[in-house]
Protein backbone atom coordinates (compact mmCIF):
# COMPACT_ATOMS: atom_id res chain seq x y z
CA UNK A 1 0.00 0.00 0.00
CA UNK A 2 1.37 3.39 -0.95
CA UNK A 3 0.53 6.69 0.71
CA UNK A 4 1.39 9.75 -1.36
CA UNK A 5 1.28 13.33 -0.17
CA UNK A 6 -1.48 14.77 1.97
CA UNK A 7 -1.19 17.30 4.74
CA UNK A 8 -0.88 17.28 8.51
CA UNK A 9 -2.01 19.53 11.32
CA UNK A 10 1.12 21.62 10.85
CA UNK A 11 0.67 23.79 7.79
CA UNK A 12 3.39 23.16 5.22
CA UNK A 13 4.79 20.06 6.90
CA UNK A 14 6.54 17.92 4.33
CA UNK A 15 5.37 14.31 4.45
CA UNK A 16 7.27 11.40 2.95
CA UNK A 17 5.84 8.89 0.51
CA UNK A 18 5.20 5.87 2.70
CA UNK A 19 4.78 2.24 1.79
CA UNK A 20 3.19 -0.43 3.96
CA UNK A 21 4.20 -4.04 3.49
CA UNK A 22 1.04 -6.03 4.14
CA UNK A 23 3.06 -9.16 4.86
CA UNK A 24 5.65 -7.88 7.32
CA UNK A 25 3.45 -5.01 8.68
CA UNK A 26 6.38 -2.64 8.22
CA UNK A 27 6.36 0.91 6.90
CA UNK A 28 9.01 2.35 4.57
CA UNK A 29 9.62 6.03 3.84
CA UNK A 30 10.69 7.59 0.54
CA UNK A 31 11.15 11.04 -0.91
CA UNK A 32 7.81 12.25 -2.01
CA UNK A 33 5.96 14.28 -4.53
CA UNK A 34 4.55 16.96 -2.21
CA UNK A 35 0.88 17.29 -2.92
CA UNK A 36 -2.40 17.62 -1.13
CA UNK A 37 -5.98 17.54 -2.35
CA UNK A 38 -4.64 15.76 -5.43
CA UNK A 39 -5.79 12.59 -7.14
CA UNK A 40 -3.79 9.44 -7.90
CA UNK A 41 -4.06 6.24 -9.85
CA UNK A 42 -1.72 3.41 -10.74
CA UNK A 43 -1.07 1.43 -13.86
CA UNK A 44 1.36 -1.48 -14.10
CA UNK A 45 4.42 -0.28 -12.18
CA UNK A 46 3.66 3.41 -12.29
CA UNK A 47 1.70 5.60 -9.95
CA UNK A 48 0.35 8.84 -11.35
CA UNK A 49 -0.39 11.96 -9.34
CA UNK A 50 -2.53 14.73 -10.79
CA UNK A 51 -3.62 18.16 -9.63
CA UNK A 52 -3.88 19.36 -6.05
CA UNK A 53 -1.54 21.83 -4.36
CA UNK A 54 2.13 22.00 -3.49
CA UNK A 55 3.04 23.25 -0.01
CA UNK A 56 5.02 26.19 -1.37
CA UNK A 57 2.06 27.60 -3.28
CA UNK A 58 -0.91 26.34 -1.27
CA UNK A 59 -3.41 28.54 -3.08
CA UNK A 60 -2.78 27.76 -6.75
CA UNK A 61 -3.62 24.25 -7.88
CA UNK A 62 -1.60 22.25 -10.42
CA UNK A 63 -2.59 20.82 -13.77
CA UNK A 64 0.32 18.50 -14.38
CA UNK A 65 0.61 14.73 -14.14
CA UNK A 66 3.57 13.34 -12.24
CA UNK A 67 4.58 9.75 -12.89
CA UNK A 68 6.29 7.71 -10.17
CA UNK A 69 8.13 4.61 -11.34
CA UNK A 70 7.90 2.11 -8.47
CA UNK A 71 10.73 -0.01 -9.91
CA UNK A 72 13.09 2.93 -9.54
CA UNK A 73 11.55 4.06 -6.25
CA UNK A 74 12.06 0.65 -4.65
CA UNK A 75 15.47 0.11 -6.29
CA UNK A 76 17.23 -0.24 -2.94
CA UNK A 77 14.58 -2.42 -1.32
CA UNK A 78 14.65 -5.95 -2.68
CA UNK A 79 11.76 -7.07 -0.50
CA UNK A 80 9.54 -4.35 -1.96
CA UNK A 81 10.78 -4.94 -5.52
CA UNK A 82 9.78 -8.57 -5.24
CA UNK A 83 6.22 -7.48 -4.64
CA UNK A 84 5.84 -5.48 -7.79
CA UNK A 85 5.70 -7.11 -11.16
CA UNK A 86 8.60 -6.71 -13.55
CA UNK A 87 7.75 -4.42 -16.48
CA UNK A 88 5.65 -6.07 -19.14
CA UNK A 89 7.89 -8.06 -21.39
CA UNK A 90 5.46 -9.96 -23.55
CA UNK A 91 1.80 -10.02 -24.35
CA UNK A 92 1.32 -12.75 -21.80
CA UNK A 93 0.48 -10.50 -18.90
CA UNK A 94 -3.25 -10.15 -19.04
CA UNK A 95 -5.69 -7.65 -17.63
CA UNK A 96 -6.68 -9.85 -14.80
CA UNK A 97 -3.42 -9.64 -12.93
CA UNK A 98 -2.89 -6.03 -13.81
CA UNK A 99 -3.24 -3.68 -10.90
CA UNK A 100 -6.14 -1.40 -11.58
CA UNK A 101 -5.39 2.03 -10.40
CA UNK A 102 -6.98 3.40 -7.35
CA UNK A 103 -6.87 6.95 -6.27
CA UNK A 104 -8.50 9.19 -3.80
CA UNK A 105 -8.22 12.76 -2.79
CA UNK A 106 -5.31 13.70 -0.60
CA UNK A 107 -3.46 10.46 -0.04
CA UNK A 108 -3.40 7.36 -2.09
CA UNK A 109 -3.65 3.74 -1.20
CA UNK A 110 -2.37 1.20 -3.56
CA UNK A 111 -2.11 -2.44 -2.96
CA UNK A 112 1.01 -3.93 -4.32
CA UNK A 113 0.93 -6.63 -6.84
CA UNK A 114 2.58 -9.83 -5.97
CA UNK A 115 3.96 -12.37 -8.29
CA UNK A 116 2.36 -15.74 -8.09
CA UNK A 117 4.03 -18.87 -9.26
CA UNK A 118 2.03 -21.94 -10.12
CA UNK A 119 2.97 -25.15 -8.41
CA UNK A 120 4.60 -27.69 -10.64
CA UNK A 121 2.64 -30.54 -9.16
CA UNK A 122 -0.80 -31.16 -7.77
CA UNK A 123 -2.17 -33.74 -5.37
CA UNK A 124 -5.18 -35.74 -6.41
CA UNK A 125 -7.30 -37.46 -3.78
CA UNK A 126 -10.01 -39.94 -4.55
CA UNK A 127 -12.91 -39.81 -2.15
CA UNK A 128 -13.61 -42.95 -0.17
CA UNK A 129 -17.06 -43.60 -1.60
CA UNK A 130 -15.85 -44.25 -5.10
CA UNK A 131 -17.56 -47.21 -6.83
CA UNK A 132 -14.70 -49.62 -6.11
CA UNK A 133 -14.52 -49.08 -2.35
CA UNK A 134 -11.38 -49.69 -0.44
CA UNK A 135 -11.71 -51.26 2.94
CA UNK A 136 -11.95 -48.96 5.99
CA UNK A 137 -8.42 -49.22 7.20
CA UNK A 138 -7.09 -48.29 3.82
CA UNK A 139 -9.44 -45.37 3.42
CA UNK A 140 -8.18 -43.81 6.62
CA UNK A 141 -4.65 -43.79 5.36
CA UNK A 142 -4.77 -40.77 3.08
CA UNK A 143 -1.41 -41.53 1.60
CA UNK A 144 -3.09 -44.39 -0.23
CA UNK A 145 -5.69 -42.22 -1.91
CA UNK A 146 -3.52 -39.24 -2.69
CA UNK A 147 -1.37 -39.21 -5.79
CA UNK A 148 1.05 -36.61 -6.96
CA UNK A 149 0.75 -35.67 -10.60
CA UNK A 150 2.40 -33.18 -12.88
CA UNK A 151 0.54 -29.88 -13.15
CA UNK A 152 0.17 -30.11 -16.92
CA UNK A 153 -1.67 -33.41 -16.54
CA UNK A 154 -4.17 -31.89 -14.14
CA UNK A 155 -6.66 -31.02 -16.86
CA UNK A 156 -6.93 -34.71 -17.75
CA UNK A 157 -7.65 -35.83 -14.17
CA UNK A 158 -11.43 -35.24 -14.07
CA UNK A 159 -11.86 -37.67 -16.95
CA UNK A 160 -9.96 -40.36 -15.11
CA UNK A 161 -11.77 -39.76 -11.84
CA UNK A 162 -15.23 -39.54 -13.29
CA UNK A 163 -15.43 -40.46 -16.95
CA UNK A 164 -19.14 -39.53 -17.22
CA UNK A 165 -18.64 -35.97 -16.15
CA UNK A 166 -17.60 -33.44 -18.72
CA UNK A 167 -14.42 -31.58 -18.16
CA UNK A 168 -15.37 -28.11 -17.03
CA UNK A 169 -11.85 -26.81 -16.87
CA UNK A 170 -11.55 -23.79 -19.07
CA UNK A 171 -8.35 -22.15 -20.02
CA UNK A 172 -8.61 -18.41 -19.72
CA UNK A 173 -8.13 -16.80 -23.05
CA UNK A 174 -5.30 -14.38 -23.23
CA UNK A 175 -6.89 -10.92 -23.36
CA UNK A 176 -4.28 -9.92 -25.87
CA UNK A 177 -5.47 -12.55 -28.30
CA UNK A 178 -7.90 -10.08 -29.81
CA UNK A 179 -5.06 -7.68 -30.46
CA UNK A 180 -2.86 -10.41 -31.97
CA UNK A 181 -5.69 -11.70 -34.15
CA UNK A 182 -6.36 -8.21 -35.42
CA UNK A 183 -2.84 -7.98 -36.83
CA UNK A 184 -2.25 -11.63 -37.64
CA UNK A 185 -5.39 -12.23 -39.66
CA UNK A 186 -4.56 -9.81 -42.48
CA UNK A 187 -1.00 -11.13 -42.55
CA UNK A 188 -2.28 -14.67 -43.02
CA UNK A 189 -4.21 -13.62 -46.09
CA UNK A 190 -1.45 -12.20 -48.26
CA UNK A 191 -3.58 -12.40 -51.41
CA UNK A 192 -6.08 -9.90 -50.06
CA UNK A 193 -3.31 -7.36 -49.75
CA UNK A 194 -2.73 -7.46 -53.49
CA UNK A 195 -6.24 -6.26 -54.17
CA UNK A 196 -6.09 -3.11 -52.02
CA UNK A 197 -6.81 -0.16 -54.21
CA UNK A 198 -4.87 3.06 -53.86
CA UNK A 199 -6.54 5.48 -51.55
CA UNK A 200 -8.00 2.79 -49.28
CA UNK A 201 -7.72 3.46 -45.59
CA UNK A 202 -4.86 1.76 -43.75
CA UNK A 203 -6.41 -1.33 -42.13
CA UNK A 204 -4.85 -0.82 -38.67
CA UNK A 205 -5.85 1.97 -36.33
CA UNK A 206 -3.23 4.19 -34.74
CA UNK A 207 -4.36 3.28 -31.25
CA UNK A 208 -4.08 -0.46 -31.92
CA UNK A 209 -0.59 -0.11 -33.31
CA UNK A 210 0.50 1.76 -30.20
CA UNK A 211 -1.16 -0.87 -28.05
CA UNK A 212 0.67 -3.61 -29.94
CA UNK A 213 3.97 -1.80 -29.64
CA UNK A 214 3.35 -1.37 -25.93
CA UNK A 215 2.67 -5.07 -25.45
CA UNK A 216 5.87 -5.98 -27.26
CA UNK A 217 8.04 -3.36 -25.57
Amino acid sequence: MMVIGGRTNQVGEVVPLEVYDTESSEWYKFNSVQRFRHSCWSSSNNVFVHGGFEHEIPNIPLSEICKIDTQKLFARHDNLLQKIKPPEKSGKDGDKDKKEGIKKNQTNLYNMERQFKLAQQAHIATSANQPNKMNDTQAEDFSLIVRQISIDKLAEEPKKLNPQQKNHTKIDKNPNDALCTMFLKPLLKPKEGQEIKPGTEFPCKREHIIELANECA
Binding site: R7, C66, N111
Partner: protein
Protein backbone atom coordinates in the same frame (compact mmCIF):
# COMPACT_ATOMS: atom_id res chain seq x y z
CA UNK B 1 13.99 -6.38 8.20
CA UNK B 2 13.61 -3.23 10.16
CA UNK B 3 16.89 -1.85 8.91
CA UNK B 4 17.48 1.71 9.89
CA UNK B 5 19.03 2.22 6.48
CA UNK B 6 15.66 1.82 4.87
CA UNK B 7 14.62 5.26 6.04
CA UNK B 8 15.83 7.19 3.11
CA UNK B 9 13.34 9.95 3.34
CA UNK B 10 13.63 13.06 5.38
CA UNK B 11 12.38 16.50 5.17
CA UNK B 12 12.80 17.57 1.59
CA UNK B 13 14.46 20.95 1.20
CA UNK B 14 13.89 23.19 -1.76
CA UNK B 15 17.37 22.19 -2.89
CA UNK B 16 16.50 18.51 -2.78
CA UNK B 17 13.38 19.31 -4.65
CA UNK B 18 15.33 20.93 -7.45
CA UNK B 19 17.46 17.81 -7.60
CA UNK B 20 14.39 15.65 -7.81
CA UNK B 21 13.06 17.46 -10.80
CA UNK B 22 16.42 17.31 -12.58
CA UNK B 23 18.85 20.16 -13.11
CA UNK B 24 17.91 23.16 -15.15
CA UNK B 25 20.37 24.07 -17.88
CA UNK B 26 20.22 26.55 -20.70
CA UNK B 27 19.70 24.75 -23.98
CA UNK B 28 20.92 25.78 -27.46
CA UNK B 29 17.70 27.70 -28.02
CA UNK B 30 18.35 29.80 -24.94
CA UNK B 31 15.48 28.18 -23.07
CA UNK B 32 15.75 26.35 -19.79
CA UNK B 33 15.82 22.60 -20.21
CA UNK B 34 15.54 19.88 -17.61
CA UNK B 35 18.15 17.17 -17.58
CA UNK B 36 16.53 13.95 -16.55
CA UNK B 37 18.27 11.72 -14.06
CA UNK B 38 17.66 8.15 -15.28
CA UNK B 39 17.49 6.88 -11.69
CA UNK B 40 14.91 9.46 -10.74
CA UNK B 41 11.69 7.67 -9.74
CA UNK B 42 9.38 10.50 -10.67
CA UNK B 43 8.96 12.67 -13.71
CA UNK B 44 6.38 15.14 -14.91
CA UNK B 45 4.62 14.08 -18.09
CA UNK B 46 5.01 16.45 -20.98
CA UNK B 47 1.52 17.05 -22.30
CA UNK B 48 0.89 20.10 -24.44
CA UNK B 49 -2.66 19.88 -25.66
CA UNK B 50 -6.11 20.00 -24.07
CA UNK B 51 -4.73 19.91 -20.51
CA UNK B 52 -7.65 20.35 -18.10
CA UNK B 53 -7.49 23.51 -16.01
CA UNK B 54 -5.49 23.12 -12.80
CA UNK B 55 -7.73 21.82 -10.02
CA UNK B 56 -8.04 20.10 -6.64
CA UNK B 57 -10.64 18.02 -4.86
CA UNK B 58 -11.41 16.22 -8.14
CA UNK B 59 -11.40 12.47 -8.74
CA UNK B 60 -9.51 10.40 -11.27
CA UNK B 61 -10.86 6.93 -11.90
CA UNK B 62 -9.29 4.17 -13.93
CA UNK B 63 -11.89 2.84 -16.35
CA UNK B 64 -9.74 0.37 -18.27
CA UNK B 65 -6.12 -0.64 -18.71
CA UNK B 66 -5.10 2.56 -20.48
CA UNK B 67 -7.73 5.12 -19.63
CA UNK B 68 -8.62 7.28 -16.65
CA UNK B 69 -11.51 9.68 -16.23
CA UNK B 70 -11.23 13.00 -14.40
CA UNK B 71 -14.41 14.41 -12.96
CA UNK B 72 -15.15 17.70 -11.18
CA UNK B 73 -12.93 19.45 -8.68
CA UNK B 74 -12.36 23.11 -7.89
CA UNK B 75 -10.36 25.51 -10.05
CA UNK B 76 -9.02 29.02 -9.52
CA UNK B 77 -6.91 30.84 -6.93
CA UNK B 78 -7.36 31.36 -3.21
CA UNK B 79 -10.80 32.52 -2.25
CA UNK B 80 -12.00 32.54 -5.83
CA UNK B 81 -12.51 28.85 -6.31
CA UNK B 82 -15.17 27.62 -8.66
CA UNK B 83 -16.57 24.12 -8.83
CA UNK B 84 -16.45 22.21 -12.10
CA UNK B 85 -18.58 19.40 -13.46
CA UNK B 86 -16.49 18.56 -16.49
CA UNK B 87 -15.62 15.03 -17.55
CA UNK B 88 -12.21 14.43 -19.14
CA UNK B 89 -10.59 11.20 -20.28
CA UNK B 90 -6.83 10.65 -20.31
CA UNK B 91 -5.28 8.02 -22.55
CA UNK B 92 -2.08 6.76 -20.94
CA UNK B 93 -0.77 5.25 -24.19
CA UNK B 94 -1.24 8.31 -26.34
CA UNK B 95 -0.80 10.67 -23.37
CA UNK B 96 -3.73 12.74 -24.52
CA UNK B 97 -6.47 14.51 -22.63
CA UNK B 98 -9.93 14.78 -24.19
CA UNK B 99 -12.96 16.50 -22.74
CA UNK B 100 -15.88 14.14 -23.12
CA UNK B 101 -18.94 15.42 -24.88
CA UNK B 102 -21.30 13.67 -22.49
CA UNK B 103 -24.95 12.89 -23.03
CA UNK B 104 -27.57 12.57 -20.33
CA UNK B 105 -27.52 14.16 -16.86
CA UNK B 106 -23.99 14.87 -15.57
CA UNK B 107 -23.51 15.40 -11.83
CA UNK B 108 -23.67 19.06 -10.81
CA UNK B 109 -20.28 20.82 -10.41
CA UNK B 110 -18.63 19.60 -7.21
CA UNK B 111 -15.43 18.82 -5.30
CA UNK B 112 -14.54 16.43 -2.45
CA UNK B 113 -16.88 13.87 -3.99
CA UNK B 114 -15.92 10.22 -4.41
CA UNK B 115 -15.80 7.98 -7.46
CA UNK B 116 -14.92 4.44 -8.44
CA UNK B 117 -14.99 2.31 -11.54
CA UNK B 118 -17.61 -0.42 -11.86
CA UNK B 119 -16.22 -2.99 -14.27
CA UNK B 120 -14.75 -1.67 -17.54
CA UNK B 121 -15.71 1.70 -19.00
CA UNK B 122 -18.25 2.48 -16.28
CA UNK B 123 -17.82 4.59 -13.19
CA UNK B 124 -19.94 6.11 -10.45
CA UNK B 125 -19.77 9.42 -8.57
CA UNK B 126 -21.35 10.04 -5.18
CA UNK B 127 -21.69 13.13 -2.98
CA UNK B 128 -19.30 16.05 -2.66
CA UNK B 129 -19.48 19.76 -1.92
CA UNK B 130 -20.86 22.33 -4.32
CA UNK B 131 -19.34 25.44 -2.74
CA UNK B 132 -20.53 28.00 -0.21
CA UNK B 133 -21.05 25.29 2.39
CA UNK B 134 -23.68 23.40 0.45
CA UNK B 135 -23.46 19.75 -0.40
CA UNK B 136 -24.25 17.85 -3.58
CA UNK B 137 -27.37 15.67 -3.73
CA UNK B 138 -27.43 12.07 -2.51
CA UNK B 139 -27.91 10.75 -6.05
CA UNK B 140 -25.64 8.03 -7.36
CA UNK B 141 -24.39 9.00 -10.83
CA UNK B 142 -23.21 6.49 -13.41
CA UNK B 143 -21.00 7.31 -16.40
CA UNK B 144 -21.43 4.65 -19.07
CA UNK B 145 -18.81 4.51 -21.82
CA UNK B 146 -19.37 0.92 -22.88
CA UNK B 147 -20.57 2.11 -26.29
CA UNK B 148 -17.46 4.21 -26.78
CA UNK B 149 -16.20 7.46 -25.32
CA UNK B 150 -18.06 9.46 -27.95
CA UNK B 151 -21.28 7.89 -26.65
CA UNK B 152 -20.45 8.58 -22.99
CA UNK B 153 -23.61 9.02 -20.97
CA UNK B 154 -24.21 10.22 -17.42
CA UNK B 155 -27.34 9.03 -15.63
CA UNK B 156 -28.76 8.92 -12.13
CA UNK B 157 -29.00 5.36 -10.85
CA UNK B 158 -32.56 4.76 -9.62
CA UNK B 159 -32.38 3.75 -5.96
CA UNK B 160 -35.20 2.81 -3.57
CA UNK B 161 -35.21 3.50 0.18
CA UNK B 162 -32.79 5.54 2.25
CA UNK B 163 -29.34 6.64 1.07
CA UNK B 164 -26.01 7.47 2.73
CA UNK B 165 -27.24 11.07 2.52
CA UNK B 166 -25.35 14.16 1.47
CA UNK B 167 -21.69 14.03 2.44
CA UNK B 168 -18.23 15.13 1.37
CA UNK B 169 -14.70 13.88 2.02
CA UNK B 170 -15.97 10.28 2.05
CA UNK B 171 -14.75 7.33 0.02
CA UNK B 172 -16.43 4.94 -2.38
CA UNK B 173 -15.02 1.70 -3.71
CA UNK B 174 -16.42 -1.21 -5.73
CA UNK B 175 -15.81 -4.66 -4.31
CA UNK B 176 -17.81 -6.70 -6.77
CA UNK B 177 -20.80 -6.73 -6.55
CA UNK B 178 -20.87 -4.16 -3.72
CA UNK B 179 -20.46 -0.42 -3.86
CA UNK B 180 -19.22 0.72 -0.45
CA UNK B 181 -19.45 4.28 0.85
CA UNK B 182 -17.49 5.03 4.02
CA UNK B 183 -17.12 8.04 6.31
CA UNK B 184 -16.88 11.68 5.28
CA UNK B 185 -18.73 14.66 6.67
CA UNK B 186 -22.49 15.06 6.45
CA UNK B 187 -22.38 18.84 6.79
CA UNK B 188 -23.03 18.53 10.52
CA UNK B 189 -20.32 16.09 11.57
CA UNK B 190 -17.72 13.57 10.51
CA UNK B 191 -19.05 9.99 10.40
CA UNK B 192 -17.76 6.42 10.21
CA UNK B 193 -20.78 4.60 8.81
CA UNK B 194 -20.55 2.18 5.90
CA UNK B 195 -23.25 1.91 3.24
CA UNK B 196 -23.51 -0.86 0.69
CA UNK B 197 -25.33 -1.14 -2.64
CA UNK B 198 -25.32 -4.41 -4.54
CA UNK B 199 -25.19 -3.83 -8.29
CA UNK B 200 -26.62 -7.30 -8.80
CA UNK B 201 -29.81 -6.75 -6.81
CA UNK B 202 -32.62 -4.89 -8.54
CA UNK B 203 -34.18 -2.60 -7.51
CA UNK B 204 -31.00 -0.98 -6.24
CA UNK B 205 -30.98 0.02 -2.60
CA UNK B 206 -28.46 1.32 -0.06
CA UNK B 207 -28.07 -0.68 3.14
CA UNK B 208 -26.30 0.71 6.19
CA UNK B 209 -23.92 -2.03 7.26
CA UNK B 210 -23.50 -3.34 10.76
CA UNK B 211 -19.76 -3.89 10.90
CA UNK B 212 -19.40 -5.28 14.42
CA UNK B 213 -17.97 -3.78 17.55
CA UNK B 214 -14.57 -2.56 16.47
CA UNK B 215 -14.60 0.22 13.87
CA UNK B 216 -12.33 3.06 12.79
CA UNK B 217 -13.14 6.41 14.41
CA UNK B 218 -15.04 8.99 12.38
CA UNK B 219 -13.03 10.54 9.57
CA UNK B 220 -13.15 12.82 6.57
CA UNK B 221 -10.65 13.15 3.69
CA UNK B 222 -9.25 9.65 4.23
CA UNK B 223 -8.26 7.36 1.35
CA UNK B 224 -9.73 4.02 0.45
CA UNK B 225 -8.83 1.37 -2.07
CA UNK B 226 -9.69 -2.18 -2.99
CA UNK B 227 -7.14 -4.87 -2.23
CA UNK B 228 -6.69 -6.82 -5.47
CA UNK B 229 -4.11 -9.47 -4.68
CA UNK B 230 -3.33 -12.02 -2.04
CA UNK B 231 -5.52 -13.45 0.67
CA UNK B 232 -7.19 -10.08 1.36
CA UNK B 233 -8.50 -9.70 -2.21
CA UNK B 234 -11.82 -7.84 -2.19
CA UNK B 235 -11.10 -6.12 1.12
CA UNK B 236 -11.67 -2.36 1.32
CA UNK B 237 -8.62 -0.71 2.84
CA UNK B 238 -8.75 2.77 4.41
CA UNK B 239 -5.91 4.99 5.54
CA UNK B 240 -5.66 8.25 7.47
CA UNK B 241 -8.02 11.18 7.24
CA UNK B 242 -9.02 13.88 9.72
CA UNK B 243 -11.20 13.21 12.73
CA UNK B 244 -13.58 15.33 14.86
CA UNK B 245 -10.97 17.41 16.71
CA UNK B 246 -9.33 18.26 13.35
CA UNK B 247 -6.38 15.99 14.10
CA UNK B 248 -4.86 13.83 11.39
CA UNK B 249 -4.97 10.03 11.53
CA UNK B 250 -2.36 7.39 10.72
CA UNK B 251 -4.27 4.14 11.11
CA UNK B 252 -5.13 1.61 8.41
CA UNK B 253 -8.28 -0.49 8.46
CA UNK B 254 -9.66 -3.25 6.28
CA UNK B 255 -13.36 -4.00 5.80
CA UNK B 256 -14.17 -7.51 4.67
CA UNK B 257 -17.28 -9.52 4.01
CA UNK B 258 -17.57 -13.00 5.43
CA UNK B 259 -19.14 -15.86 3.53
CA UNK B 260 -22.19 -15.71 5.80
CA UNK B 261 -22.76 -12.09 4.75
CA UNK B 262 -21.42 -10.44 7.91
CA UNK B 263 -19.05 -7.50 7.52
CA UNK B 264 -16.30 -6.56 9.93
CA UNK B 265 -13.38 -4.19 10.30
CA UNK B 266 -9.84 -5.33 11.00
CA UNK B 267 -7.11 -2.92 12.03
CA UNK B 268 -3.85 -3.34 10.12
CA UNK B 269 -1.01 -4.19 12.54
CA UNK B 270 2.06 -1.93 12.51
CA UNK B 271 5.23 -3.76 13.40
CA UNK B 272 6.94 -0.76 14.87
CA UNK B 273 4.51 1.69 16.46
CA UNK B 274 7.17 4.36 16.90
CA UNK B 275 8.08 4.36 13.23
CA UNK B 276 4.58 4.32 11.81
CA UNK B 277 3.43 6.57 9.00
CA UNK B 278 2.98 10.30 9.50
CA UNK B 279 -0.69 11.11 10.25
CA UNK B 280 -2.23 12.95 7.33
CA UNK B 281 -5.37 13.75 5.40
Amino acid sequence: MGQKGSQESHMVSAEDKAKQGGKDVVGPDGKLQKIKDPNQAHETLDIAKNVPQARFGHTITMVNKYKVVLFGGATGDTGKYSMTGETFIFNMLLRTWTELNVKGVPPSPRAAHASTNVEQMQMVVYGGATGGGSLASDDLYLLDMRNGEDQAQWMIVPVVGSTPGRRYGHSIIFSKPHLLVFGGNTGQEAVNDVWCLSVEKAPFSWIKLDCGREAPQVRVYHSAALCQTGSATGMMVCFGGRTTDQSSLMDTWGLRRHRDGRWDWVKAPYKNQTEGPIPRY
